[in-house]
């Protein structure tokens, strides 16, 4: 099963956004020369449709009859979705192969998305998922409802992509000197994913004493790996500075650490990651 190892795993649902996920995943897989797999998760327990039986009467063998009808409903729904998804995944596979990703595999699994992905993550080098999904049109949220919980449950880099595909040409690393972003810098330096692309390193937030020293370390690390680096410090609110810089410099891929705090703290203080994901309109590589 060596082919399973170090693959790029693209998580898709049956929405139009899946095409963009497929494009970015194919791009990443081709650059890293890694196998690509498309995964579709069938959740067996979606919200129920309305219009149920409200008669409140139970006849002879009510329990057996109900069990039978419920399991038949489940089976029918799963079968229908399975076939639709198979056709859909096949199309994405051809699309990815057309732009040079190889080998490309497809897979469907039952279960909950976050649970399924964390089970799968051992053989995975990079997750690719859409920021929005099938529920996007019916909800007001900027982020698909699965994204945060999914990201929290994973320990691998995640590429959260937006609605249009454009092969990334300018990359920005949101750097704050923390362990996770330092690891990110080293990862970028070592990975074939960004080879040859100009990289910007931006440090913002409250000015700190050893800020210049840290960013110099980042610049050197990347320069030694052969990158064309621009490193800057721009004090100010990171969310504002980073999204401004992204637009001003025509950045088309942002790299940052994600959800390093507990859900409790998020409840009280809000999450920087979620805010930033909302503010920035380019694909984002989230580091865990």
């Amino acid at each position: 099963m060596t082919q399973q190892d170090n693959k790029v795993l693209a998580c898709v649902d049956l929405s139009p956004y899946a095409d963009h996920v497929a494009d970015y995943a194919a791009w990443a897989a081709a650059r890293m020369a890694a196998p690509l797999e498309f995964l579709h998760v069938i959740d067996r327990h979606p919200a129920l449709p309305g219009g149920q039986d409200h008669s409140g009467a139970i006849g002879a063998n009510a329990q057996e009859a109900l069990l039978k009808s419920l399991s038949e409903e489940d089976a029918a729904r799963t079968r229908a979705e399975r076939e639709a998804a198979r056709v859909f995944l096949q199309r994405l596979r051809e699309r990815a192969e057309a732009v040079g990703a190889s080998p490309v595999d497809t897979r469907q699994r039952h279960g909950d998305l976050a649970e399924t992905l964390s089970e799968q993550q051992d053989g995975v080098r990079l997750f690719v998922l859409g920021r929005r999904g099938a529920s996007a049109d019916s909800t007001q949220r900027d982020l698909g409802r699965h994204v945060e919980w999914t990201v929290r449950s994973l320990q691998r880099p995640i590429l959260a992509v937006t609605e249009r595909f454009k092969a990334p040409e300018r990359v920005l690393i949101a750097f704050d000197g923390s362990a996770i972003t330092r690891k990110g810098v080293e990862m970028v330096a070592a990975s074939p994913l960004f080879k040859g692309l100009p990289v910007q390193v931006l440090m913002s937030g409250k000015p700190s004493g050893d800020g210049p020293k840290q960013i110099e370390w980042a610049r050197q690390t990347l320069a030694q790996a052969g990158f064309d680096v621009v490193a800057e410090i721009e004090p100010g609110d990171p969310q504002v500075m980073i999204s401004q810089a992204t637009e001003r410099k025509g950045i088309d891929l942002l790299i940052m650490g994600a959800y390093s705090h507990s859900p409790l703290r998020k409840l009280l203080m809000g999450s920087k990651t979620t805010d930033l994901l909302r503010a920035v309109q380019v694909p984002t590589l989230l580091l865990r």
Binding site: G56, A57, I58
Partner: protein, 497 residues
């Protein structure tokens, strides 16, 4: 437990949960009244209990979507306590039941459920259905005052509406329509028949906190403890059975130990607001799932709506004719009974049918579900031991030119098979030595070990050398601990034999 689970449990299915909760609340009212009557208390005791248990279980339970309230199983146990000692002792027993259930959840008593076999469960629900049906008979007995042909006609009309209406529309609960129509009819005609108001007091206010009015001494404990123990067992049994049913219906998992503790918390609180002990309800949980209820919200809505309806519509609830209630309860007993078990009597092994029937008979005879289940569990254990005891073979072959014989034992040796094990050897045969090869046998208990001892000693008395070989790991530990034949003075210790 993550925020996501919490959210899914409460808000995963809001619209359906609220609608299903309404259906269940309406279905709970007649049941709570009927079960209060079975228990021999005022209808308000069962109605307050149903409100309080449903509401608390919504938060504390381990099985979202399962309905708990005042139940027939508990009412049957309670009846004699109320008759002999009165309502206040019932409230004290309810609190104590809750405490015992919390402890049961804490020591994970739910694991014992695996000893309750499928046949016992079927016997339990069948007995419950029969008892619920029998409890309706006094209302149909021509010797009861106020029972005459109008009552029979109304009961029949009620059943016709309950089962007929769903064929026309499934939008409104048919038991509710039955009750509304029959009540309106009886008021309009001015019929002189028994109504819910004749059965005792109905709630006229929100429940209030009160301490059970019993002396806190050993005497009281002696009275309530046996009842509380039975209530604990019956309550947990029905709750865990129902949880399994809901698990199967919805293809999801539940936390059984949390459910035990949750039932306890609900009963403690219920005792303090003047309600009777309760547990999960199979019929209502099936109705809830059938109506689309899945989350905790459905249970909460059922409890709260029940209280609102009863407190504000008390005047109307009083006028409900007992005949309407009887019709609803006949539906409940028909829906609870496992009709497939008649067919299974022919298809299932006789021992499982015997277990099922024994559970039903003992329960119906004693009106105590705990005794019925205990009988069923013991009987299934007995049948199982008997079956496994038959898996024992002892073969033998003479060797070394007739100077010795090797016995090969395969299978399970324990109390049920020890005798046939000991009888399988030929002690009178004249040989120099005997080898007993037990490498493919299992020695399970002291009875098995002493049977082996007996065999060895019997051979030695005939002057035959005995060698036991191939005691496998499991048997070896048993033999090392208990056997005497390979220790000094073994014969002396068995002189008495």
């Amino acid at each position: 437990m993550s925020f996501q689970t919490l959210r899914q449990d409460w808000l995963g299915n809001v619209r359906n949960d609220v609608l299903a909760g309404l259906v269940v609340a309406l279905a709970l009212i007649p049941e709570a009244i009927a079960f209060s009557i079975i228990a021999g208390v005022d209808p308000k005791v069962g109605l307050y209990a149903s409100f309080s248990i449903a509401t608390i279980i919504a938060f504390a339970g381990g099985r979202p979507g399962m309905i708990s309230a005042a139940t027939g199983a508990m009412a049957l146990v309670i009846a004699s306590l109320v008759k002999d000692h009165g309502l206040q002792y019932l409230l004290a027993a309810t609190v104590l039941t809750g405490v015992l259930q919390v402890v049961a959840g804490w020591v994970q008593l739910g694991r014992l459920m695996r000893f309750v076999s499928r046949s016992v469960v079927t016997g339990f629900v069948n007995a419950l259905a029969i008892l619920i049906f029998l409890a309706q008979l006094p209302e149909l007995n021509p010797n009861t005052a106020g029972v005459g042909w109008p009552v029979y006609a109304m009961t029949a009309a009620g059943l016709a509406i309950i089962y007929g209406l769903p064929h026309i529309t499934k939008v409104v609960p048919s038991p509710l329509v039955t009750i509304v129509v029959l009540t309106a009819f009886s008021i309009w005609m001015g019929l002189d028949i028994r109504t819910v108001g004749d059965m005792g007091e109905l709630p006229d206010s929100l429940p209030v906190f009160l301490l059970p009015d019993v002396p806190l001494n050993l005497e009281t404990l002696k009275i309530i403890l046996p009842y509380s123990l039975t209530l604990m067992v019956v309550g947990l049994l029905e709750s865990l059975m129902t949880a399994t049913i809901v698990d199967d219906l919805t293809d999801t998992r539940s936390d059984k130990n949390r459910e035990c503790a949750g039932q306890g918390v609900a009963n403690i609180a219920t005792g303090f607001i003047g309600g009777m002990a309760g547990c999960a309800m199979i019929g209502q949980s099936v109705i809830n799932v059938k109506s689309g209820g899945r989350g905790r919200l459905s249970t909460l809505v059922a409890g709260v709506v029940l209280l609102i309806l009863v407190v504000f519509l008390g005047e109307w609830v009083k006028q409900i004719p007992m005949a309407a209630l009887v019709a609803v309860m006949i539906m409940v007993s028909i829906g609870t009974f496992n009709w497939g078990s008649f067919r299974n009597l022919r298809e299932h092994p006789r021992s499982s049918s015997a277990v099922m029937i024994a559970t039903v008979v003992v329960t119906v005879a004693t009106h105590d579900l705990a005794k019925g289940v205990l009988t069923g569990v013991l009987l299934s254990g007995f049948f199982f031991a008997h079956k496994v005891g038959q898996i024992l073979r002892v073969r033998s072959m003479a060797d070394n030119e007739g100077r010795s014989r090797t016995y090969t034992v395969t299978g399970q040796v324990f109390f049920a098979s020890a005798e046939s094990f000991a009888n399988a050897f030929d002690y009178k045969e004249v040989v120099d030595s005997v080898r007993i090869d037990v490498s493919r046998a299992h020695f399970w208990d002291i009875t098995a070990v002493s049977a082996l001892d007996k065999v060895v000693l019997k051979f030695r008395r005939e002057g035959t050398e005995v060698e036991v070989i191939g005691l496998n790991e499991a048997s070896a530990t048993m033999v090392d601990k208990f056997a005497v034949h390979d220790k000094d003075g073994a014969d002396d210790m068995l002189v008495g034999h």
